[in-house]
C-alpha cells in the first residue's frame, strides 16, 4: 500500500526567511528517513532555489511570497519551489568554471550548479508573472542498496 504525505510552507520572500525554510526541509527529510548527508544536500538545494527566487525571480521586491511544497511517498521526496516572479531559464545560466568566475569577479551561477549536483532530478516550468515551479527530487536510498 502506498501513501503520500504533503507539506506546504508559504512565507514572505525575504532572505531572512531562508533559515526558516531550511528548518522546514530538515524536519521533513528527517521524518522521511534520509541520513544526515542527504539531509544536508536537501537543505542546501532548497535554500539555493529559494534564494534564486528572492533575488532573481522577484529581484528582492517587497511583498512577494515563496511557497515550498514537499511530498513524500515512502521512496521519493519531491520538493517544489513556487513563485509568481519573472522566471528564468536555469539552463541558460552560463556554466563558467570556478577560475573564470573568480577572474571575472562574478558570483552568479553557483546556486543552480549546486542544485543540479545535490538532487537526483531537477525540473523547471516557467510561467513568467504567473507561476514558476522548480521541482527537485531525491530518492531514499535503502540500507544495503
Amino acid at each position: 500500500m502506498s501513501f503520500e504525505q504533503a507539506f506546504t510552507l508559504d512565507v514572505p520572500s525575504t532572505t531572512q526567511n531562508l533559515a526558516l525554510i531550511r528548518d522546514f526541509v530538515n524536519r521533513i527529510s528527517a521524518q522521511a528517513g534520509f541520513d544526515a548527508d542527504e539531509m544536508a544536500k536537501l537543505e542546501l538545494a532548497v535554500d539555493e532555489a529559494c534564494a534564486n527566487v528572492i533575488e532573481h525571480a522577484y529581484e528582492n521586491e517587497q511583498g512577494k511570497q515563496v511557497m515550498v511544497r514537499a511530498s513524500f511517498d515512502g521512496e521519493v521526496l519531491r520538493i517544489t519551489v513556487v513563485d509568481t516572479g519573472k522566471g528564468f531559464d536555469p539552463s541558460g545560466v552560463h556554466q563558467a568554471d570556478l577560475k573564470e568566475l573568480a577572474e571575472k569577479r562574478r558570483t552568479g551561477g553557483l546556486g543552480m550548479r549546486l542544485i543540479q549536483s545535490l538532487m537526483d532530478e531537477v525540473h523547471y516550468e516557467i510561467g513568467p508573472g504567473n507561476k514558476n515551479e522548480l521541482q527537485m527530487v531525491k530518492r531514499l536510498r535503502k540500507p544495503g542498496a
Binding site: 533559515a19 570556478l98 549546486l114
Partner: protein, 122 residues
C-alpha cells in the same frame, strides 16, 4: 533570538584571522563581505578564515570568497580557509574550491601555509 552569524577578528603577526560563527547564507553573507572589505580597506591582505564554528554555507557565502580572491592575490595577499566541518567541506568540494583555495585543518597549519606559500598558485 540568538545572532545567526557573526565574524570575530584577531591578528597574528601580519595575518588577520576572521572566525565565522553560525550560518552563512544569502541573508548573512553581506556581513561577511563587509568584514573582508574592512580588511582590504585597512591594507590587510593576508586573511585566514577560521570556519570551526561555521555550521552552514550556501553559494552566497562561497560567492563572498569568490568576490575578493582575485584582488587579494593581485595585491600579493590571499584568503586561506581552515577547520571546515564535513558538511561545509562537502559544499566546497562540489564546487571545486580546493583547486582555487588552500583549505587546511586548523589555524596553526594555515599560518604555516602562509609562511610557505603566501599566495596559492593556481
Amino acid at each position: 533570538m540568538a545572532n545567526p552569524f557573526s565574524v570575530s577578528r584577531s591578528t597574528q603577526e601580519n595575518l588577520t584571522i576572521l572566525a565565522l560563527d553560525g550560518f552563512l547564507d544569502a541573508h548573512t553573507a553581506p556581513e561577511f563581505e563587509n568584514a573582508i572589505q574592512r580588511e582590504l580597506d585597512g591594507g590587510h591582505i593576508q586573511l585566514i578564515v577560521d570556519c570551526s564554528k561555521l555550521t552552514y554555507i550556501s553559494s552566497a557565502g562561497l560567492g563572498v570568497f569568490m568576490g575578493f580572491i582575485e584582488e587579494l592575490r593581485e595585491r600579493g595577499g590571499d584568503i586561506k580557509i581552515c577547520a571546515l566541518s564535513p558538511k561545509v567541506h562537502q559544499v566546497f568540494e562540489i564546487l571545486g574550491f580546493p583547486a582555487l583555495y588552500d583549505i587546511l585543518d586548523d589555524v596553526p597549519a594555515t599560518v604555516q601555509r602562509f609562511s610557505d606559500s603566501p599566495v596559492k598558485q593556481v
